[in-house]
Point group: C2
Chain length 265, copies 2
């Protein structure tokens, strides 16, 4: 297993985090702006005087949200997990940072939030309506007209399975290989008084950089009637980023959860 | 019917509005801060050069939201309803105001958003969990522990029907009578990964000032096991504001919709 064990004299805690990505440059610590990682590391420094590194299952981009991100951190100062959660949340609240620790536990032996992770799920939320957004601004992607959800769901089936996802990969993606196995890509819709709510859920062991947003982009083209499902298949098979019709903005993207093997024993 | 007809040479439009109450002092125009009413009136002035008054079905308090508020306005400059909606939304967007026109139509003869209204519905949203809120901050009321929803629903039944709601009325309420008929007060819950979501829906011809928040307050006391259902009944029958155990904050309150008689014809 990759990843380092906790340093001597520290305890590894597993944290479940919720965050609103709007004010952040993304998960990862950046020189030029606030990050979720730095926000939590600062809170931990304030309660422990330790310079701990927080590792997450997924390094979300600027403006991307998490409803349950798994992370870990090694801390020398003794804390009961509940007290650690309360202390970090207290500091985050004082900083008025929209980041919250939903759960804290002592990590099982060998646990690494990123390298032990065997599955990740995302949701992409769209709201189709003419009127601009109010309280949902930055939390969903607004499209002005209703989308053909049945056509989107049919097109999504072409992307499920093991493929070379070069077309759906950001040019700066650092993954060693463009081949990924997409386990699930579902499109469902719900017509409510405030518009047509569409939710696209994606699940895989891991994703390429911008993969979910790129897949959502072409599905929206299908939903708008601009592409046929067969063109999604052709774009995938072209293995050419230039064939991507549309990349969705970060607004609607939510990291839903990370999955780990059950404890041995 | 109360309310004035449109002034000669104007057209009365019926608007459906969504707004995020967080930045506003409430619906009604105020000397000391921004209001939803003033925000829309300013947008209308910018597109028509007219000083029009926008009347709403409900004058929500500071921090209270609307998912579908009905309002009307009389405008002399000719507009197709769709164009009016687009023009107001364009101005609201430029002002970065979290207010949106979901629909616009020419009002039926005699229509008055407030005085023609025969029913109003509200939802109050609670999220029960230990962790502070992130993207839902100001949009739901967080309670640290799960609530007993069955007990709340049972207690709510004591408030349904025609009663003197003096206990559930703000001391500055301007209604002529404290007697109101509550048609519906339902409590339902949904356990999700981010906590226990509780939704309380209330429906009546009209409500007293703070009535929904006051009813929610005592239902939460019941949900926490601090009050029995019979104490809600006793507090109602006392007709005494001092007997109100708890008033809920505006955060979780949403104006859901206004109902009008079907057009005669």
């Amino acid at each position: 297993m990759k990843g380092t064990p906790p340093a001597a004299g520290t305890t590894r805690f597993r944290l479940t985090l919720e965050y609103d990505g709007r004010p952040f440059m993304g998960w990862q610590r950046q020189a030029h702006g606030p990050s979720v990682q730095q926000t939590i590391e600062t809170a931990i420094h304030e309660i422990s005087s330790e310079t701990a590194i927080v590792q997450a299952a997924g390094r979300t981009d600027a403006g991307v949200h998490a409803s349950a991100m798994t992370a870990h951190v090694d801390i020398a100062k003794p804390f009961a997990p509940f007290r650690l959660m309360e202390a970090i949340n207290g500091r985050l609240k004082m900083a008025a940072a929209p980041v919250s620790v939903l759960d804290a536990a002592i990590a099982p032996p060998g646990f690494h939030a990123r390298f032990s992770c065997i599955g990740r799920s995302y949701a992409y939320r769209l709201l189709c309506r003419r009127a601009p957004l109010t309280h949902q601004s930055g939390l969903v992607w607004r499209r002005p007209r209703p989308l053909d959800v049945a056509a989107m769901h049919e097109a999504a089936a072409h992307l499920v399975g093991q493929h070379d996802f070069t077309t759906f990969r950001h040019i700066h993606c650092q993954a060693a290989s463009p081949i990924k196995t997409l386990d699930r890509l579902d499109v469902c819709a719900d017509d409510r008084a405030d518009g047509q709510h569409i939710r696209i859920e994606a699940e895989a062991r891991s994703f390429l950089h911008h993969q979910v947003r790129s897949m959502v982009g072409v599905l929206v083209l299908v939903g708008e009637g601009k592409w046929q499902a067969a063109e999604v298949k052709a774009a995938l098979e072209a293995r050419n980023r230039a064939r991507l019709g549309l990349n969705a903005p970060p607004d609607g993207l939510w990291f839903l959860g990370a999955f780990y093997p059950p404890p041995v024993g």
